[in-house]
């Protein structure tokens, strides 16, 4: 039956929006309905992808007056739809908020589905803005402190900026036809932009998508917005929203702008990606609470994905389809690994917030004792974030670095040097994300508890644990068999770069060139298991069984005083002390990190205070000048309110004259 998958998906999206109405009245119905609907939709999309993903179209009578709305489903949107449904279903099972927020959670999923199923510019923009509105409503519906509301307003502002830029981009791409403009994707594909219009479209798309996906320099708002989002709920979908933003970027720059764009189109993405990887990784090692760290790691991974997309654009324009497929496949694999890991970690953060009472690392510690399953899920998620083998994150980073290593073939010494430096920056970003992961798990989950509340933390409910461990298992599956994920993305690769990974992916390995050895994850797992078995055999045969416990050696220090049952918290490395080496070196140069010690005068028994200040360079170079400009413009505009009647009439007359002049100049003769 034609267009069956698309029809079912559209019906599912509408059903999700309708479930939002049931949310406040029947929370359990809403939760079960969202999970069931999401799982069913994921199955439909999976079958669609397995059947070869033939393009499907559907015209809806709703939408623009006289034109309606077009929906479409092809290999690219199906890949991202599957990803979004998987993480969205898991997040709904675990984190569907009760009371007010439940009204907006399913519609957020529905808006994301609309963006992914869009067949024309109108549906795309409607879905994109709907996503931002639903996320904003989720934050407002939950009781929160003023700082959280300010952060939500900031993120709403950034999303609004993104939508405005995307509206302009879609307007530039739209094809003029008698009686108006045609926003349909098929028409836009037939008339790709050229010259200055194409360049302007690229800039607008980068700003529009960058503000949602966290690309430098529009990344400043991301960590604080994630930290202040209400728990449970909105933050859990942050991973899916980043994936949808990247889908919009790929759709507009790879598909609609056409394959005839010049090779320099990839350069802004490579530069932005490399800078984002380093800045995001460094910020992740310096942030003080769990969700800020995950937000900063999102910036790092968004940078890696953007750099991969940039390499794919440059390779496609230089007529190197196999390299383009390698880079694009790596970006898609990394997007999948990131979405799974980010959602898992936001669920973990939600569990920690609810059961240990706080997100701040300086008030956590020792959670592994009361929350072992959550800690296991956190370890799996952070292993993927840190790109440790055999996780999914390592498979994605492996492919991206292989694409960077092969990129000098594109030619031109300036581009080669840029790619070399960008690749070093990507490696540094991955290593910094690893350092941030060790810091977060070591300070927050391991060690001794720093507060009694952290000592008393208990496991979350069974549904949440199942969702977290399910996501961890999915990540491990993708990591061990990355060829599976690449097989799901086969049609997407064909659509975007007109090439595939045929001959380079197999069940046991993925490779950069055909007939060459590559990364064999199952083989590595077997080797690791054998080595582990050898170590265990050594321990069993050569060593007496069992172990004794004693107070920690701690270099010979004595036992802590009796009134500190969990030991002295000051003798345990905390979140600020762990990052001190990186802060004093990289943080000093890149983020302007400064430590000041206020020591009391002698004979004063008050403790000294260590204050750490750091600011993001994007804040200094972009946000503060923008705010100053805004204030200047507001002051100038405020003068308009105090005009006398004479001046107001003169202003109106001058505006009319200018308008007539503009019409006279631009009118075609």
């Amino acid at each position: 039956m034609p267009d069956l998958a698309l029809g079912l998906a559209a019906a599912g999206g509408a059903g999700l929006c309708a479930l939002g109405l049931a949310g406040p009245l029947r929370p359990r119905v809403a939760r079960i309905g969202t999970v069931a609907l999401g799982a069913a939709e994921a199955l439909v999309v999976l079958v669609f992808l397995a059947a070869g993903a033939p393009a499907e179209h559907l015209a809806l009578p709703l939408g623009l007056p006289g034109a309606g709305m077009l929906l479409a489903l092809d290999g690219l949107s199906a890949f991202f739809l599957l990803l979004m449904l998987l993480v969205g279903t898991a997040a709904s099972a675990a984190a569907l908020p009760v009371a007010g927020g439940a009204a907006f959670f399913p519609p957020l999923l529905g808006a994301m589905m609309l963006t992914l199923l869009a067949g024309d510019g109108f549906a795309l923009l409607l879905g994109f803005e709907g996503m931002a509105v639903a996320a904003f409503a989720l934050v407002l519906a939950a009781p929160a402190e003023p700082a959280a509301r300010r952060a939500a307003l900031r993120s709403r502002g950034m999303a609004g900026l993104g939508t405005i830029c995307l509206i302009a981009a879609v307007g530039l791409l739209a094809v003029p036809q008698p009686g108006g403009i045609d926003l349909g994707f098929a028409a836009i594909r037939a008339h790709p932009p050229e010259g200055w219009r194409a360049g302007l479209v690229l800039v607008l798309v980068l700003i529009g998508v960058g503000s949602q996906a966290g690309l430098v320099p529009l990344h400043v708002w991301l960590p604080s917005s994630h930290a202040s989002a209400p728990v449970p709920g909105g933050a859990a979908l942050a991973g899916a929203m980043t994936a949808v933003a990247f889908y919009v970027l790929i759709r507009l720059s790879f598909d609609l702008a056409g394959p005839a764009q010049p090779a320099w189109w990839g350069v802004p993405l490579i530069v932005i990606g490399a800078a984002g990887a380093v800045l995001g990784g460094l910020r992740a090692t310096l942030e003080a609470d769990i969700r800020s760290v995950i937000g900063a790691a999102t910036i790092c991974h968004a940078g890696l994905i953007a750099a991969g997309l940039g390499l794919a654009l440059a390779a496609r324009a230089s007529d190197l389809p196999s390299l383009a497929a390698l880079a694009f496949g790596g970006a898609l694999l990394q997007a999948m690994a990131h979405a799974l890991a980010a959602t898992l970690l936001f669920l973990v953060a939600g569990a920690v917030q609810q059961n240990a009472g706080t997100q701040h690392l300086s008030r956590l510690g020792g959670l592994i004792r009361g929350m072992p399953a959550t800690t296991l899920a956190a370890l799996a998620g952070f292993a993927s974030l840190a790109a440790l083998p055999p996780s999914a994150g390592f498979a994605g980073v492996w492919m991206l670095l292989q694409a960077a290593i092969a990129a000098p073939r594109i030619g031109g010494l300036p581009l080669q040097m840029l790619v070399a430096v960008a690749a070093m920056a990507m490696a540094l970003g991955v290593a910094l994300a690893g350092a941030a992961s060790v810091r977060l798990v070591g300070v927050g989950f391991l060690g001794r508890p720093r507060t009694p509340r952290a000592a008393a933390a208990q496991e979350p409910a069974l549904a949440e644990r199942v969702a977290m461990l399910g996501l961890a298992g999915a990540g491990l599956l993708v990591g061990l068999f990355p060829a599976l994920a690449l097989a799901l993305a086969r049609k997407a690769l064909l659509l975007a770069v007109n090439a595939g990974m045929a001959g380079r992916t197999g069940v046991f390995a993925i490779a950069a060139q055909a007939e060459a050895p590559g990364y064999g994850a199952p083989g590595l797992a077997v080797l690791f298991a054998l080595a582990l078995a050898l170590a265990w055999a050594f321990a069993r045969t050569r060593s007496p069984a069992g172990y004794r416990t004693a107070p920690a050696w701690d270099g010979g220090s004595g036992a802590p005083p009796v009134w500190l049952p969990f030991g002295d918290p000051a003798t345990q490395y905390g979140e600020a002390s762990f990052s001190q080496t990186l802060r004093a070196t990289l943080g000093r140069t890149l983020l302007g990190a400064r430590e000041t010690v206020e020591a009391p005068p002698p004979a004063d028994t008050r403790p000294a205070h260590l204050a750490v200040r750091a600011h993001d360079p994007a804040t200094m170079l972009l946000v503060r000048p923008a705010l100053r400009l805004h204030r200047t413009l507001v002051r100038m505009a405020a003068r308009l309110q105090a005009l006398s009647l004479r001046h107001a009439l003169a202003l109106a007359f001058a505006a009319l004259v200018l308008l007539l002049l503009a019409v006279a100049i631009t009118e075609p003769s």
Partner: protein
Amino acid sequence: MVAAMLRLVAQLLHAALMLAAAPLLLGLIRHLRARLLGHAGPPLVQPWRDLIRLARKQPVLAESASPLLGAAPFVDFAASLAAASLVPGFALGMITAPLADLLLLAGLLALAQVALALAAMDVGTATGGIGASRATALAAFAAPALFAVIFALALAAGTTNLDSLATLRNRGTIGFSAAHGLALAALIIIALAGNGSVPADHAAARWGVRCDYSGRHLALVEWAASLRLLLMLSLIVAAFAPFGAANAAGTLLAWPVGLLAWGVKIVVLAFGLAVAETAAARLRLSRLPELLGVALALALLAVILLCVGQGFA
């Protein structure tokens, strides 16, 4: 079929050789260092005696620690042994040759380091925290330099597979130019820093992460550390001077020759390491990023020279 059996046997022999030779290498370096300083030096097999003595003892775990402290030595040892099995030694073309990717080796070393750092944080003491913090920071600084070296080697060979790289070098397809010399210098600096040898010898980074182990756990952790040292020296040999290595699927007569060649090269590198440790002074911790920055600059220069020289420009 026979070839596959030979490659499997070569792999098993290689793994056993790495396991046996790692403590001997450590003993050799300590002995040479003591001799250069005028002492008599411990016997060469002292690290082996230490391992056997430690294995006989029951471990003592800290009360404040979780099961992760008991599991970390196993993960560390397994990751180090897996990495050491992948680096070709006396024979090329062993059964795990398709797996021997340079990026995967870097990932396995990172996995071992993360396991040790997490266990050090688990005990909740200050020494563990210092060790974990500094070791993690040094690993973060070394990562771009190590990737730059891998980039240079991959540009020369067209692949990141270490076995293919060594085979191409033996056939003479890749020459040894100034760019390769720069990459070798960068890899030597990274190996020194990663192993905690002078000038990157910091008690906190090197010993802080081993603070609370005892018994068989300490034996596994020390064995893994010596495996990683042998792995780095073997990597330098395989990437830059693999001549003399046997073909695993070839005649058995070539295996002793390959073994002798590999052994001589490792002993020469061990002697060089001992001389470097006695001749150089320790760098301040705040200067270590500069040292690794030097390695990064050398490797980046090698990459650019290879880009220009190979006519990609």
